[in-house]
Structure formats: C-alpha cells, structure tokens
Amino acid sequence: MTEIISLVVAKYNYWLYIILMMIGLYAMIAKNNLIKKLVGMNIFQTAIILFYVSTGYKTGATIPIIKNAHGGHGVEAAVIHAADYINPLPHVLMLTAIVVSVATFGVAMALCVRIYQRYQTLEEDELRMRLSEK
C-alpha cells in the first residue's frame, strides 16, 4: 500500500495529466452540447501540454539562460552543468502545440457557428433529430 502511495507521489505529474486527459476525453464522448465537447477537447489537449512541460522540469534547476556566456572574464566563465538548467526543448515544442490547439479550437468554433446558423441548436440529440427528419 505504501509502495503505491509513494509511486503516486513520486510521479504525481503523470497522474495529474492522466486525470485531466480522462476528464477531457469523457466530456468529448459523453456530453451532449457541442460547446461542452469543445471545452473537453481543450482540456484534453492542455493535459498533454502540461505533461510535456512537466517533463522538462528538474529539481533545483533554473531557467535555461546561461550566465556569463558572453564576455565571461577568465574565472567567471564557469563550467556549464546541464543539471542546473531545466530542459527548454519540451517547452519550445509546446509553443507549437499550443498554436496548433488554438487553431483547432478556432476552426471548431467556426464550425459551431455554421451549425448554429443552419439548425438553431448546438445540442447533439436535437441535431440528430433534425437530420433524420429530412
């Protein structure tokens, strides 16, 4: 039992992202309103972004701006230890992923507007009823 607890605590970032992801997935599958589905989609994508961001973190490390990199005078140009700086690469990747998710969100919102203009509803069951009427 204590082993499981320590496992959860040690890797809490992974547990959090999985919980968030499942909340998002649940909303996308189970919710009836299209906007709620969109919100679920956003939570789902954000969970993955948080997962990436958390993997770059190191205990006791600082932001990856190297001090005295330019014009360090002799002694001050200290040796750079990778352990002193968090890994910036996942963060940079996530900038791209954020752009992608915003673009997807925008397209989805535009589609919702089109659907609402055509059917005056965003509830899925009503949409299904309207479509089967025709």
């Binding site: 997935l25 994508q45 990436y52 993997t55 989805a108 589609l111 055509r118």
Partner: protein
C-alpha cells in the same frame, strides 16, 4: 539541384501564400498559381525519386542545422515514391477539378485553392520529414485544412460531418503527440534515425512500449482502421467533389505510410515483430476491417458513401499486410499504397464527373449513365476492375503479394478475407454497373435537361474535357503500374526493405 527536397514542399506553401494574396487583386489568378506551384512540386518530387534511385537516400537539413538538433528531411526509396504519388495526384486532381470547384464553391474558389495547397503541403511534409515532432505538426496542418475543406461541401451536412471528423482527428493527433512525448522522455531525441539508434539500448522498456502503442493508436485513428473509422464515411461523402477526390486517395494512404515508417525506421522490425506479440492481433483487426468495410459498402444506397466504405476495407488490406511479419506481406502493403491511391483516385474522379452532371449519386439516379457518360463510365469500370483485382490492372498484383504473404505467415483468415472482399467488391460494382447500364432512363422523377423530348433517346452529356483527360491518364496509369509492378517491386520496394 540539391534543394529539390525543400522546393517540393516550399513551392505549394508559397503558392498558398500568393494565391491568398491574389484574392485581393484578381481572384481568377488563384487557380493558375495553385496549378504552377503543384506542377513545380511534382517536378521536384520526380527529380528527388531519380536522385534517390541513383545515389541512395537524400538528407536535407533545414537551415543547415545538424540532425539531432535541427529538423532533417530524410528521403529514401519509400518516401520518394510516396512523394511522387502525392504530388502528382494532387496536381492531376487540380487539373481535373476546375469546373467542379466553379460549380460547388464558386463564391469561395480562391480560398478553396489556398486550403487545398496547404493540405498538400501538409501531406508532402508528413511524407518527407525525418523528425517525429515535425511529423505531428504537419499532420495537424493536413488535418486542419481538411476540416475546413470538408465544411465547404454539403451545406446541410458538411459542417456537422467536419466537426465530428475534427473531434476524432484531435484525439488521434493527441495520442500520437503523447507517444512522441514518451519516446522523447526515454531517448532524449526526436530525430527518427537518432531514436532508432538509441532504442536498441533500452530492451524491455515499458516507456518505449507505451510510446509505440500510443503513436500507433493515433495513426490508426487518422487512417480510419476499423473500430476507429466512424469519422470517415460522412466526412468524405459531404466534402466538395474536388476535395474528396484528393483526400480519399491520399490522406489514409499517407497515414499507412507513417505507420510503416514508424515500424521500419523508428522502432525496427525486430522490435515490432520479435519483441512484441501484437502482430497476430493486428492482422485480425485488419481482417475484421476488410470484412466490415465490405459488408457496410454492400448496405449503402449512395455511390459516394459506398466508395468511402471501400476505403475502410482497403485500409484493412494494408494494415494487415504490413503486420504479417514477412517480406511478401510488407511488399504487398507498400505496393498497395501506390495502387490503392491510384484506384481510389480514378474512382473518385469518375464519381466527381457524375456528380458534376447529376448532383445526387443515390443509386436510382444512376440509371442510363453508360449511354450518357460513356468515357467516364469506361474509367469507372476499369478502376472497379482494379479494386476487384482483375489481372492486368494494378489492384491484382498487390493483392497477390498480400495473399502470398498471408499464406507464408499462416494467416489463413487474412487470405480468406482478401478473397471474400474481392467477391464483395465484384457484387458491389456489378450492382452499380447493372443500374447504370440496363435500367431505362427517364421513368419517374429523374427529369434532366432534356425533359419533354422522347425519353427513350439517351443524350450524351459528358463531363468537362479536362476531367476526362485526367481520368484517361489515371486509367492508363492503373494498367501501366500493373504491368510494371515487377519493376516497381524490384527497383524500389525490395531494395528499401533489405
């Protein structure tokens, strides 16, 4: 000379930019710009293929950054072939579809071309790139443009079909991204070849396993493998003709390419087949996809929707073949990427021509088409024979390799499914032929342009010449690729696999 790998992607990208600008000046300019940029891209991809056949894989470093840090385009025989396929089909389709775009999305033609070019950029990039994260971004570029283009189609159903496609597509791409995250955690690299070099040092790592399965799941969602296929039929049916013609042959096939790339280059066949015991289950999935796709296609009453279920069936061929675990199966799967893209393209070209003349392609409306559109129907028949697998056409040869591979692997259920699907396709298409050929025209509600005149006389009323010429070229390609399939296998596929 050395910049062809970049030109082939940048030409349509710049084309999209200039076509977008052209909207403000003169909207008619968008079409020639799109055509020229895709022509350039096709030219570059053919050159790359020649270079790769002559001198081996081409490595192109974006902005000169060395591979593990920078993004590398790595083009070997497999993706050089797929690049030629993608760029030439996109180019030919643009050539054929001018009138269809004018008819269906006349008020937004320029924006259609911009999105179309970006879609092609995404596909070409997915095929060319050698970087796992770059692959994700390019998959999303392809997907985003295809959502918007699907929504431009049918005014009632298009947006809703597109939104459902979007929800499923986002889940697929996110799973892939998550898988890449796991691979990055354990290897610290995103370059495919670099990752492939590190992975053998990590035997039995559960992180690698989870990463592989998540990537695979994401790609399967994107390629509409059977239980994950729900988005495809509506999305492709309600898309505008000019777009469904290009998305149906290319999108799913490019995703099959991604799966094969992950299996061969990144994780390695040794890992996939020897260390993991998944292959039998996946071959069963492929088998079920084939049977399910065939049965669903039989139950359809609309020509376009029927064809979308055939795509699902064909995906089963390729996934099953790739996972048979022998050279014959993999050869069949790779050859089928080319063949299926051509066959599906020919079918959708023909259907696009029919849609151009008679809006609604429900079965009852198709009567008398052989008299009305003989050339279109000739192409349709040839493509249908290829799907069924009649010998001189290309569909036969890849199916032959797949069946041989199935027997070698002892997967008799897969071989049986392939044969059954041939039978189902034969039934399907001869049903369509019967409606088009024998049923008399003009009874009941189908009053066309010639109402009032004698109903017995069938007036020939063909699609635009450009569409017909393209259909003729593709039909010829179906036979040529079939006749020369031995050459393709010996110069491209086998050297790649060995």
């Amino acid at each position: 000379m050395n910049n062809y790998p970049a030109i082939l992607i940048i030409a349509p990208l710049l084309g999209a930019f200039f076509a977008g600008l052209a909207v403000w000046i003169q909207e008619r300019l968008a079409y020639p710009i799109a055509l020229i940029s895709l022509g350039l891209s096709t030219f570059a991809s053919v050159n790359v293929l020649m270079a790769v056949i002559a001198n081996g894989p081409v490595h192109y470093r974006m902005a000169g950054w060395a591979p593990p840090m920078g993004i590398e385009y790595r083009i070997d025989l497999l993706n050089a072939m797929v690049l030629v396929l993608v760029s030439s089909i996109a180019f030919l389709n643009l050539l054929a579809s001018y009138k269809n775009v004018e008819q269906e999305t006349h008020d937004r033609a320029a924006s259609f071309y911009v999105a179309y070019l970006l879609f092609v950029v995404g596909l070409l990039g997915v095929v060319a790139t050698g970087d796992l994260f770059n692959l994700y971004v390019l998959i999303e570029i392809t997907s985003l443009t295809s959502y918007t283009l699907v929504a431009l189609g049918d005014r009632d159903r298009g947006p809703l079909a597109s939104l459902n496609y979007l929800f499923v597509g986002v889940i697929g791409a996110s799973f892939y991204l998550l898988g890449v995250g796991y691979i990055y955690i354990i290897t610290g690299s995103l370059n495919m070849v670099d990752v492939a070099g590190i992975l053998p040092d990590l035997p039995g790592s559960s992180t690698v396993l989870v990463g592989f399965i998540l990537c695979l799941l994401g790609v399967w969602i994107k390629m509409a493998l059977f239980p994950l296929h729900v988005w495809l039929p509506n999305g492709y049916t309600y898309a505008p003709t000019a777009f469904s013609r290009v998305v149906a042959p290319l999108m799913t096939k490019v995703m099959v390419y991604v799966m094969i790339r992950l299996m061969i280059t990144v994780f390695g066949l040794d890992y996939v087949f020897v260390k993991l015991h998944l292959s039998e289950a996946v071959v069963w999935l492929g088998t079920i996809a084939i049977v399910f796709g065939g049965v669903m296609a039989l139950s359809q009453k609309n020509l376009k929707k029927m064809l979308t279920y055939i795509i699902i069936c064909e995906i089963g061929y390729m996934v099953g073949g790739a996972w048979l675990g022998n050279e014959l199966g993999m050869t069949g799967a790779i050859l089928h990427i080319v063949n299926d893209a051509l066959m599906t393209f020919a079918l959708f070209l023909a259907v696009g021509n029919i849609v151009y003349k008679i809006k609604d392609v429900d079965y009852p409306n198709l009567s008398g088409l052989f008299g009305k559109m003989p050339w279109t129907m000739a192409g349709f028949v040839l493509a249908a024979f290829s799907i069924i697998g009649v010998p001189p056409t290309c569909g036969f040869f890849s199916k032959w390799y797949l069946i041989l591979g199935a027997f070698e692997a002892g997967a008799y259920h897969f071989a049986a499914a392939l044969l059954i699907s041939s039978l189902i396709c034969a039934v399907l298409f001869f049903k369509v032929f019967e409606i088009c050929f024998f049923a008399p025209e003009g009874n009941g509600h189908s009053h066309d342009h010639s109402h009032g005149h004698g109903d017995q006389v069938i007036v020939m009323d063909e699609a635009p010449v450009a569409s017909l010429v393209t259909l003729a070229i593709v039909s010829l390609a179906l036979i040529l690729v079939g006749v020369y399939s031995g050459t393709i296998v010996n110069t491209i596929i086998l050297p790649f696999l060995r």
